[in-house]
């Protein structure tokens, strides 16, 4: 059953980046840290802007990451109103989330540094 999502996930553009498992969490945390409390739509829009549409992301795919982060206690969601007076669930980084972001960023830097190093040696 867990395979369902992957097999049916659209693979429209080859050049778009398919997101790495776990990376999305870091991106969401980072977005919330820089933007402050934000609803899912806001996060999705922001991701698209920043990645300049390079990131292939169905907006719905954001939700599993949000659930995961909320269950880990890194973000907390509350219902509120948008500027356009629509209701939406706003997610904010918790204290634990801020610490986790620090750790994850550090780890990401290590990993990407390592990969970068390997790639540059290869070529």
């Amino acid at each position: 059953m867990p395979s369902k999502g992957q097999t049916k996930a659209p693979d429209k553009a080859q050049e778009r980046i398919r997101i790495l498992q776990g990376t999305l969490d870091l991106i969401v945390l980072r977005t919330l840290a820089s933007m402050g409390p934000q609803h899912a739509y806001g996060i999705a829009t922001r991701l698209q802007q920043v990645s300049q549409d390079l990131l292939n992301l169905n907006q719905g795919t954001l939700y599993p990451a949000l659930v995961r982060l909320e269950q880990q206690g890194w973000i907390a969601g509350t219902w509120g109103q948008t500027e356009s007076h629509r209701e939406a669930k706003f997610y904010a980084l918790t204290k634990a989330g801020q610490k986790a972001l620090g750790r994850q960023t550090e780890r990401w830097r290590q990993v990407s540094g390592l990969v970068e190093k390997l790639l540059s040696e290869e070529s």
Binding site: M1, Q59, G60, Y63, P64, G73, K89
Partner: protein, 889 residues
């Protein structure tokens, strides 16, 4: 930590699935609205914007699914899905469900009930630290060849002095007593205990204090008592002000000093007492002088000194027997005793030894019942799966996966077993209560108390459910191996082997049913023999009314021929419907006894001293019980107090004292009376018990002998309702004519006899229940098998009928199959039953284990059952229309 946190929020999400789902829907809706707003801002029409939003969002349902996977346990949800699916599947075959659930409910229910008893009576230890140091003391008296676990107080005191063997010792004796609550008499169970009793068993009070050594030191100095927790609740409404109140027990005022904790058990796990009083008041309450060596009945448990083994303790007590003897007055009833110990980690042994064998036999029987039930489940599931071969084949062909199919079928078994288990739980509670009620029915001296133990019930259910699940495992596995190619072509891939296994299961069921039925036959036969024992008198239509003296302490003293009783008797004899009535004491079969030595005063007498059972009987007693007088005369009105003392003796006594002589006119001393003249002779009569051997009995004239209370035997002209009316009227007469007396107990003599064989009745009842259950389950199995065979062989029957087979031939075709199985089961079961029956030999009354009547009855019953079970579906086969049957496939 983190994974733990996630685990719990997932668990939370799982149980609050609805809430999380609503939340998600709301959030997605909000998201889509925001998206659509955006598109509208870019100039789209609202409808267009909504569609664009959905597109941009991606698959809504798919996102939901991902969300769900993320937030909760997939496997758990799948399991629930399987269970829901199983329930839907089962709902389509209600008959199958009913039979499967009911057979499991019975199979598991009887196991839980019997195991509750086994645990409480045979397995449970006393709730004290180090129960294995607790021993029960007994006296072996070689001269008399008896073992007694009751001692006189002087003996108890000597035993307690053996501090080199025992760290401490507790003495106790129980008695039925009358508690006076605001003038209303209530029957209670009283236990008199030594001062060491409560500390010995680690008792703690719920209120006030418990009894201690000081209460028990000086005879009669401390008339105090302690209530049990339930008695405090029942008789005093849990009133905390009972402390210091004075209550009357057997007319004696006792001050309440405390209430025992609700968990206090004492020396016996299966017996509950209402009130405890110090042994030092035994003389006042039970008229037994504490310091006299002639009154026994005090039981004792001891705690061995650390480091002293049971064997060492036994040897040391045996060695000390001589010294104990020397410290006691000469010529006491236990003179020459050798003192012994045995393990009492499970408490004082009142029933354990006697119930040990019956309980193990019952345990064996219920295990068989469970196995038959499980075989039934397996069999039914096999047959049902067989019929669903096509369904499975289609599912497999559509790619459902064998593992998935197996899981679905297993889920069905799980639903069935748990359904059966839930029903079994209720059944077992009811059955336990019923069994205890049956065991304790009417008999005030028996008070078996068993509380269901939650942990034991859980273990029992666990084992039973596991057995049932294993029984369901094979059919599910078998079905998951269905070969779609063959099944879709109308053949069965579960074919031959499935059929063989089903036959073997039926064979096993029949074999076990034979054993169960045969056992039932033995116990029923034994009970019939007990019921047919000649008691020496006619107990039909005889009512026994027990009269107790009431009021102050003086009233518990023996009196001779009180006028009030004479007046009662005169009025009772006048009642319509009363054929005759007479007083006696103690009533025969009542459990009471008066035993003492008698001496002959004639020079001819020989031997000098014979232990004799005494009975006091008034005029008309022999006629009321229809005891034939062999020689001499009955008591008459001339046998008054102060006149010549007279007695009627039985042949057994006469032949022991005056062998070869005419006993009429001879004299003897006994029961503290001198020079009693024998005026009559009777044959054998039972005194206390239906199984007892002939014993010497002397009947003294009721009016000439001091006595406490009385039993009134009334022979009525009619049964039932007539007796109920007479009982009411007698109660009225006693109230108005003899205010110093009260009716404490009324019972028909038939009921009293039944109580004496309560254990045999219980065994016969249970054995029959289990026999019937096992047989019924086996027959259901046969029915299922034949019924299935009829369906499967429809085409064959069609061919046979079309070539001229008669309905009889068709029926016989299927009956033969059933009879073969039953006969084979008998061949296996009968030898097994005969071997097992030897374990029951000690419990049977004049029935041999190889009881030919039992064998005949078992075999014919099963044969008939097997025929009937097969006949119903076989008849259906005769209605098969050959044309349709042949066109069928």
């Amino acid at each position: 930590m983190r994974s733990c946190r996630r685990f719990f929020s997932r668990l939370d999400a799982f149980f609050h699935c609805g809430r999380a789902e609503r939340e998600l829907r709301r959030e997605i809706a909000a998201h889509l609205t925001l998206l659509a707003d955006d598109f509208e801002r870019r100039g789209m029409l609202p409808e267009e914007a909504r569609r664009a939003a959905l597109r941009a969002y991606g698959g809504v349902e798919q996102a939901k699914e991902l969300h769900r996977d993320e937030r909760s346990f997939v496997w758990l949800e799948q399991a629930f899905q399987d269970l829901r699916h199983a329930c839907r599947g089962l709902a389509r075959s209600p008959a199958f469900v009913a039979v499967a659930v009911l057979s499991l409910a019975f199979g598991i229910g009887v196991n839980a009930a019997i195991f509750t008893l086994v645990n409480a009576i045979l397995l449970k230890n006393l709730p004290v630290p180090d129960p294995h140091r607790i021993v029960q003391l007994s006296a072996h008296i070689p001269k008399a060849g008896i073992d007694s676990s009751g001692f006189s107080f002087p003996v108890y005191r000597e035993l307690r002095r053996r501090t080199e063997i025992v760290a401490d010792i507790a003495g106790f004796t129980g008695s039925a007593a009358v508690l006076d609550v605001n003038g209303v008499p209530r029957k209670i169970d009283l236990q008199l205990v030594t001062g060491s009793y409560f500390p010995f068993f680690g008792g703690r009070p719920a209120l006030g204090r418990l009894l201690d050594e000081e209460d028990d030191r000086v005879e009669g100095a401390h008339p105090v008592c302690v209530l049990s927790y339930p008695a405090w609740k029942i008789h005093f409404g849990g009133d905390p002000h009972v402390l210091g109140q004075t209550i009357r027990i057997n007319g004696i005022p006792l001050r309440i000093v405390g209430v025992a904790g609700s968990d206090f058990v004492g020396a016996e796990l299966q017996r509950r007492y209402d009130v405890w009083a110090p042994m030092a008041v035994i003389h006042d309450l039970l008229h037994r002088p504490r310091e006299s060596p002639n009154y026994g009945g005090i039981s004792a448990l001891a705690r061995l000194r650390p480091g002293i083994s049971l064997r060492k303790a036994g040897a040391r007590f045996e060695a000390a027997s001589r010294a104990i003897e020397d410290a006691l007055p000469r010529r006491h009833p236990q003179a020459g005793a050798i003192y012994q110990v045995r393990d009492a980690s499970k408490g004082f042994d009142r029933w354990r030894s006697t119930l040990h064998d019956p309980l193990l036999i019952l345990l064996g029987a219920v295990t068989l019942v469970l196995l038959v039930a499980c075989a039934n489940l397996a069999n039914l599931a096999l047959a049902r799966n067989h019929e669903r071969g096509r369904e499975f084949a289609i599912k497999l062909a559509l790619g459902i996966g064998r593992w998935r199919l197996f899981r679905e079928l297993l889920a069905e078994t799980v639903v069935l077993t748990f359904g059966g288990g839930a029903l079994a739980f209720l059944l077992s509670l009811a059955l336990t209560r019923f069994l205890l009620a049956l065991f304790n029915a009417g008999a005030h001296s028996q008070n078996l108390h068993v509380a269901p133990d939650a942990s034991i019930l859980l273990v029992t259910f666990g084992v039973c459910l596991l057995t049932a699940l294993i029984a369901g495992l094979y059919p599910a596995w078998q079905a998951s191996r269905t070969d779609p190619a063959r099944d879709l072509q109308g053949e069965s891939s579960q074919g031959v082997r499935g059929g063989l296994i089903r036959r073997l299961l039926i064979l096993a069921q029949v074999t076990m049913a034979v054993v169960l039925l045969f056992g039932a036959g033995l116990f029923v036969h034994s009970l019939r023999n007990l019921n047919m024992i000649d008691l020496g008198y006619d107990i039909q239509r005889v009512l026994t009314v027990e009269l107790d003296q009431r009021g102050t302490a003086q009233m518990f003293k023996p009196v001779t021929a009180p006028p009030a009783l004479a007046a009662v008797l005169a009025r009772v004899r006048q009642l319509p419907g009363v054929a005759s009535a007479a007083f006696s004491r103690p009533g025969v079969l009542s459990g009471g006894f008066m035993i003492a030595g008698i001496r002959t005063t004639d020079a001819s007498g020989n031997p000098p001293n014979i232990q004799t059972s005494f009975l006091l009987a008034g005029t008309g007693y022999l006629a009321t019980l229809r005891i034939p007088l062999l020689r001499g005369r009955d008591f008459t009105a001339v046998d008054r107090p102060g006149g010549n003392l007279v007695a009627i003796v039985n042949q057994y006594l006469a032949s022991r004292i005056w062998p070869g002589q005419d006993p009429i006119g001879k004299h003897f001393d006994g029961w503290n009376l001198k020079n009693i003249e024998v005026v009559g002779l009777i044959g054998y009569t039972k005194y206390q018990d239906v199984r007892e051997q002939p014993r010497p009995i002397a009947i003294l004239a009721f009016d000439q002998t001091p006595v406490v209370g009385a039993s009134l035997e009334i022979r009525s002209l009619g049964p039932g309702l007539e007796q109920a009316r007479i009982e009411r009227e007698v109660r009225e007469i006693v109230k108005s004519t003899a205010p110093d007396y009260q009716v404490s107990e009324v019972a028909t003599m038939e009921l009293m006899r039944d109580n004496l064989i309560a254990q045999d009745r219980l065994l016969a009842f249970l054995a029959t229940l289990f026999g019937v259950l096992g047989t019924a389950l086996a027959l259901v199995g046969i029915y299922g098998l034949i019924s299935y065979a009829v369906t499967r062989r429809t085409r064959e029957v069609g061919v046979r009928v079309s070539v001229g087979a008669q309905p009889g031939d068709v029926v016989w075709m299927f009956l033969r199959e059933s009879l073969t199985l039953v006969a084979a089961g008998m061949l296996l079961g009968l030898p097994l039953a005969l071997v097992l029956a030897r374990f029951a030999r000690g419990l049977l009354f004049e029935v041999s284990a190889a009881d030919p009547a039992g064998i005949g009855a078992t075999l014919s019953l099963l044969m008939l059952g097997g025929l009937a079970a097969a006949f119903v579906p076989a008849r259906r086969a005769t209605r098969i229309d050959p044309m349709q049957a042949l066109r069928h496939e």
